[in-house]
């Protein structure tokens, strides 16, 4: 009978499940997030508590079998939050633990290829967020941006913004997952914020009375710049949309309608 391992949806929780798989020598199992769980007559369900020690053991075990880059890819693909991600990752991890050599280049293997492809997709969105996030300067000097990424990429982009904008206070907020990363330039620390945004801050752009006096002018300058650098006789809308998919347009100041 298949054993269903339920966990809290965190990465450590997932790694704790992997620990249990080996500890209990499970062959037929399936790992599922609490919120995705549906009772079934054919399966026995067990709740796996998140245990940082067990998670750390699995994580360091993985580092013995895989390079750091590949381990980071495991984390990245986990952040995709795809429904089948636990399956893909546990197949991959079992293949890694079962093999003597390093298997990360064995992309002829379905799980190895899947992990590298999913990680690639997540990475692409991470890169896009680094490009498409647009800060608005608020009245009190905070640089604020809110995003709704397909994947949970906020943890991946924090270090980029921390390194780059070291001398300004900023906040990037994920409206879909309702949490944000806030940087304080005095202490140079990033902290996680769990808040409910005020109704008027729910859109991509903050209303005029919340932003700095010069903010709207700079937004208009940028939009004007964007239109001036276009060469009409080379217009290529298909290419434009391939690079800037329409679902990201809502973040972009240059696409803002006034």
């Amino acid at each position: 009978m298949t054993v269903l391992l339920r966990y809290d949806g965190t990465f450590d929780g997932f790694l704790s499940c992997i620990f249990e798989v080996y500890d209990r020598k499970l062959a037929n199992f399936s790992i599922v997030r609490m919120q995705h769980y549906h009772p079934s007559l054919l399966c026995e369900a067990i709740d796996i508590g998140t245990d940082p020690t067990k998670a750390a053991r699995v994580w360091s075990g993985l580092h013995k079998h895989l390079s750091r880059t590949k381990c980071h890819e495991i984390y990245k693909s986990f952040l995709s939050e795809l429904p089948q991600i636990e399956q893909v990752l546990s197949d991959f991890i079992r293949h890694a633990f079962a093999s003597k050599g390093k298997i990360e280049n064995d992309i002829g293997h379905p799980a190895v290829l899947a992990v590298s492809q999913i990680a690639h997709k997540v990475h692409r969105e991470k890169h896009r967020m680094e490009a498409f996030v647009r800060f608005q300067r608020t009245k009190d000097g905070l640089y604020f941006a809110s995003i709704i990424p397909d994947f949970n990429v906020l943890p991946l982009i924090v270090s980029h913004f921390r390194d780059r904008y070291a001398d300004q206070d900023w906040l990037i907020f994920d409206r879909k997952r309702k949490y944000g990363a806030q940087y304080d330039c005095k202490s140079r620390k990033v902290s996680e914020v769990l808040i409910d945004l005020a109704d008027e801050a729910q859109g991509e752009f903050l209303p005029a009375h919340l932003v700095h006096d010069e903010e709207i002018e700079y937004q208009k300058l940028w939009k004007g710049y964007f239109h001036s650098v276009n060469i009409g006789s080379r217009k290529n809308q298909k290419l434009h949309v391939r690079h800037v998919p329409t679902r990201y347009w809502r973040y972009l100041t240059e696409k803002r309608e006034w």
Binding site: I103, N105, D106, I107, G108, H109, L113, H127, E130, A131, F132, V133, R134, F135, Q136, R137, Y143, A145, H160, D163, R164, Y165, A166, D167, Q168, R188, E214, E217, Y218, K220, L221, W222, G224, Y225, F226, H227, S228, V229, N230, I231, G232, S233, R234, K235, N236, Q237, K238, L239, H240, R242, H243, V244, L252, T253, E254
Partner: protein, 418 residues
């Protein structure tokens, strides 16, 4: 700030700078050690794309579009009746910083029309870069277009603050430059390239021993050639590019399809389409030389001096050399796999890595993201026997040209209201 005036200047001076194709922000690793503003990433970031599909990574503007020169191919030429404007040094600095803080850009690409003389103009460009670096603690990307004819000292100063410096060669040959830009001097363009390339390699050698030395144009130098304004064929252009890469170790040569902007009858007339496909083929050929181990004479030679517009240059080479195929992906050397049409650098790397673990068949290859419909005619793998492929170069050329993104689609050609 007078916002309306700044907005107007920005529109004029961005419009005048847009024919410079480079917008690359890659190749430099300037970290934000000073905990000021900005850093550069090795891969660069495109913050948006224009509606013509080009990357917008930098605030690309001219300091001024006033110019003492009258180069035929240039919008800012003296005799052209257009609106003129000039930024002050401080205005450029402010725009850069405020755009950067909002994450609109990776940095600044500053070029200029030439007012008074080369040194006078260049000195101002350097001042912008110096101010950004020293007063504003700015560690983002700066690309400075060197003004031909300025002194070595100014060039050296520019390269000290900038990540990349460039001199545009503009016309592929000296004779075209004489014809289209009679007041400019070929030597004034080529000499600074030589100077910069010597300095860049000297400083980078010194920095290997003492990394604390200040960087000198860490992202190297690049240049740009206008294609389609002058009579040179692709062979001429590629020969120039090839020698620039070899002589001056340029990071990039950009090819800019001429956008008609002048009524002068020595140039393609306004309304003539921009040679986009030709430009694309030149870039493909350029990539073959830089990343695919092709030599220039394998791609092009005087007997067929222009690249095939219907098919890409790698496919063209493969069709001229049917004896080199098929290639067995399970055994062939990496360099050979690179030569298979439809297989790029990253797929070739995947293939050589993955085949160490298991023999590769069609299914694996398809999943690796190669351009399978093209590649299948040139490779064999495990289950070769079951796969029909065209081997006749003429038939194959016809089949594959029909799959090109540039192939004219018959359906689209039908009039809407027939």
């Amino acid at each position: 700030m007078n916002w309306d005036r700044v907005r107007e200047k920005l529109e004029i001076l961005a419009d005048a700078a847009k024919y410079d194709v480079s917008c690359s922000s890659s190749g430099s690793k300037r970290s934000n050690k000073t905990k000021g503003i900005g850093n550069t990433t090795a891969s660069g970031i495109c913050h948006t794309y224009t509606e013509d599909g080009r990357c917008v990574s930098l605030l690309k503007i001219l300091l001024t579009n006033y110019c003492i020169y009258d180069c035929l191919y240039c919008v800012s030429r003296r005799s052209n009746d257009i609106k003129r404007a000039a930024f002050t040094v401080q205005e450029v600095v402010d725009l850069t910083i405020h755009f950067y803080r909002r994450n609109y850009i990776e940095g600044l690409f500053l070029s200029s029309g030439i007012f008074k003389n080369a040194d006078f103009t260049m000195e101002r460009l350097v001042r912008v870069a110096r101010k950004l670096r020293t007063e504003h603690n700015f560690n983002g990307y700066i690309h400075i277009k060197t003004i031909p004819g300025c002194t070595d000292d100014l060039m050296r100063d520019a390269a000290q603050y900038a990540d990349r410096v460039s001199v545009n060669i503009e016309m592929p040959t000296e004779s075209s430059l004489r014809k289209f830009a009679p007041e400019k001097n070929h030597n004034d363009i080529v000499r600074p390239m030589g100077f910069l390339s010597e300095q860049i390699s000297a400083v980078s050698n010194e920095r290997k021993l003492s990394p604390a030395l200040p960087a000198f144009a860490p992202a190297g130098q690049s240049t740009q050639m206008v294609v389609g304004a002058s009579p040179e064929n692709d062979f001429d252009i590629m020969r120039v590019a090839d020698s620039l890469y070899r002589k001056f170790s340029l990071k990039r040569v950009y090819y800019s399809g001429y956008v008609p902007i002048s009524r002068d009858n020595r140039l393609p007339q306004i309304g003539t389409p921009v040679p986009l496909i030709r430009e694309n083929r030149l870039y493909q050929a350029d990539w073959l030389m830089r990343f695919y181990h092709f030599s220039i004479d394998e791609i092009i030679d005087p007997s067929r001096p222009n690249l095939d517009l219907d098919i890409d240059p790698k496919l063209a080479w493969a069709l001229r050399n049917p004896h080199a195929f098929p290639i067995d992906v399970n055994t062939a050397a990496y360099e050979q796999i690179l030569r298979v049409p439809g297989v790029g650098v990253s797929s070739a790397l995947k293939i050589v890595k993955a085949r160490k673990f298991r023999r590769l068949g069609w299914d694996e290859l398809k999943r690796f993201g190669i351009s399978f419909n093209k590649a299948k005619h040139f490779i064999v793998c495990d289950r070769m026997d079951t796969f029909p492929r065209d081997v006749d170069p003429i038939v194959l050329r016809h089949t594959l040209a029909g799959q090109s993104k540039y192939a004219i689609n018959d359906v689209q050609q039908l009039p809407l209201f027939a």
